[in-house]
């Protein structure tokens, strides 16, 4: 099926749940008005990124009023959004929730929490333990949060689990100003999203935020990428944007006929070799 995805390249306020809920609701309404079928938000869209000790204060449980409100809105448009999730045993996760037809369809808890360079996520948050694809009205989907995408195994697992659409929610800090046209971090991401789409014959929706937190900029540049790895739509660099991308449903079928890498992928060999490596590493 053809459908329209909206990438809400917003600028959340650090630690201000109410303001960010209002931002999200406005973007959702905008998506509905524009006839979009799905709206994707950045990582930690409801809270901002460099939360540090604010993590427990802005965390939401899945039955919080905010998630209920988003659920209700998802009767009119499918929603993928990032927030801090608190579990019943008081672990805090960097999570993304996918809501559709008034229900929570899936929650992904970020697995790869970076702690290098300017990052400090695992100090404040618990690690997710799984990558699972799930069914939506657009077919099977997999969600990744920022650093997850940098681990080749993550999108691979999701694709092997049947995902044909990868949604990546991101808060990527801009760095690496050099002689070249764009930012170092943006250039690296653009290679990554496009290559992942091409290798896995999946469409990729990448939504990255903008704004500054303590002098660190988030560069935006959200993208819709076709299963051949071609960028069909790209958001503005360093400023708020709302990208509406028309998705050609047939492109995925045609791409999978043209280069049936996923069909030929041998899960048994992968599993066998990974088991062997795991065993040998133990020795």
């Amino acid at each position: 099926m053809d459908f329209t995805v909206a990438l809400a390249q917003i600028k959340p306020k650090l630690g201000c749940l109410d303001d960010n809920m209002a931002l999200a609701e406005a973007a959702i309404e905008k998506g509905i008005a524009a006839g979009a079928d799905l709206v994707v938000f950045p990582e930690l869209a409801l809270t901002g990124y460099f939360l540090k000790d604010l993590v427990p204060e802005v965390a939401l449980s899945l039955d919080s009023p905010q998630i209920q409100r988003l659920k209700k809105l998802s009767e009119r448009i499918s929603i993928a959004i990032g927030f801090v999730e608190v579990s019943s045993d008081f672990r805090f996760f960097n999570s993304a929730v996918y809501l559709e037809a008034g229900e929570i369809r899936h929650v992904h808890r970020k697995v790869y929490l970076p702690t290098y360079g300017l990052f400090d996520e695992q100090r404040y948050m618990a690690r997710g333990e799984r990558f699972r694809a799930f069914d939506t009205r657009f077919g099977r989907v997999g969600m990744l949060i920022c650093e997850d995408m940098w681990h080749l195994s993550a999108p691979y697992i999701l694709a092997m689990d049947g995902a044909m659409t990868l949604i990546c929610l991101s808060s990527s800090p801009g760095r690496g100003v050099s002689e070249s046209e764009g930012l170092g971090s943006a250039a690296a991401w653009q290679k990554l999203t496009s290559t992942s789409a091409m290798f896995l014959n999946c469409r990729v929706f990448y939504c990255n935020r903008v704004g500054y937190e303590d002098g660190i900029n988030f560069w935006g540049g959200s993208e819709a990428i076709s299963p051949s790895g071609e960028v069909t739509d790209r958001g503005a660099l360093l400023e708020e944007d709302f990208v509406l991308a028309r998705v050609d449903g047939g492109a995925l079928r045609r791409e999978r006929i043209f280069s049936p890498m996923m069909r030929d992928e041998n899960l048994a060999i992968t599993v066998k070799e990974l088991k062997r490596i795991d065993k040998e590493k133990d020795c």
Partner: protein
Amino acid sequence: MAGLTVNTNLLRRILVGFVRDEVYKVGVRKGVLGLSGGIDSALVAYIAAEALGPENVYAYCMPYRTSNPESEAHARLVAESLGINFKVIEITPMIDAYFNITTDADNMRRGNKMARERMTILYDHSAAVGGLVLGTSNKTELLLGYGTLHGDMASALNPIGDIYKSQVWELSEAMGVPREVIEKKPSADLWAGQTDEQELGFTYREADELLYRMVDQRMSREELISAGFDAQFIDNVARKVQGSHFKRRLPIIAKVSNRTIDRDFRYARDWGK
């Protein structure tokens, strides 16, 4: 050597956006800075004028009686070409009053006192006009510790603290800082004929080539030597970076509670903004 050259369009966008965003977030619209006549503060003035509008930038030139008159002329030139607010406030009376009671101070103490005097004036004016003090120390100076703690190193926010002096030159060209300001020899202007490079014992260009590889690329001493850097120069610069590290950190607090400010009690400065 490659590496230090930057895409000035992109850098300009990021730094202008930074000043606008971080100033507005605090709930004010204005920026205050000391305009010395040198290139660093001139560049910050250019960035601030683009970010906030020239009418919202307040620049103060604060000469001492021994300051080179050319400095004030250059500061004025920058202010006039941008159309920002400009005022000259002489620090001679307060500096002389102090050193009349403390007569044994050497050049370094005198220079530090002047830098701190200027910063108290800037903070006072930031309160008067309702703006934030914009920092004008570049990455080279900050790494070498070539600045006065709580003096010129102080600020509410600093747009150029992550760019090297060579990059300050490059961006200044792109933003149209007057030629005479770009081309003159960098000087703290503490005494007649003083230049930074003479005082440091090497050029900013040389320091930047080394610091970029040492700090940004994390090259080892062996790698730096095989890249052609002199061992003594490497050690000299490394010692300066290490020795001045205290200037780049907040004062340390003796820990006694379970949640000590900054060590455990950690929030971004932009908390709630």
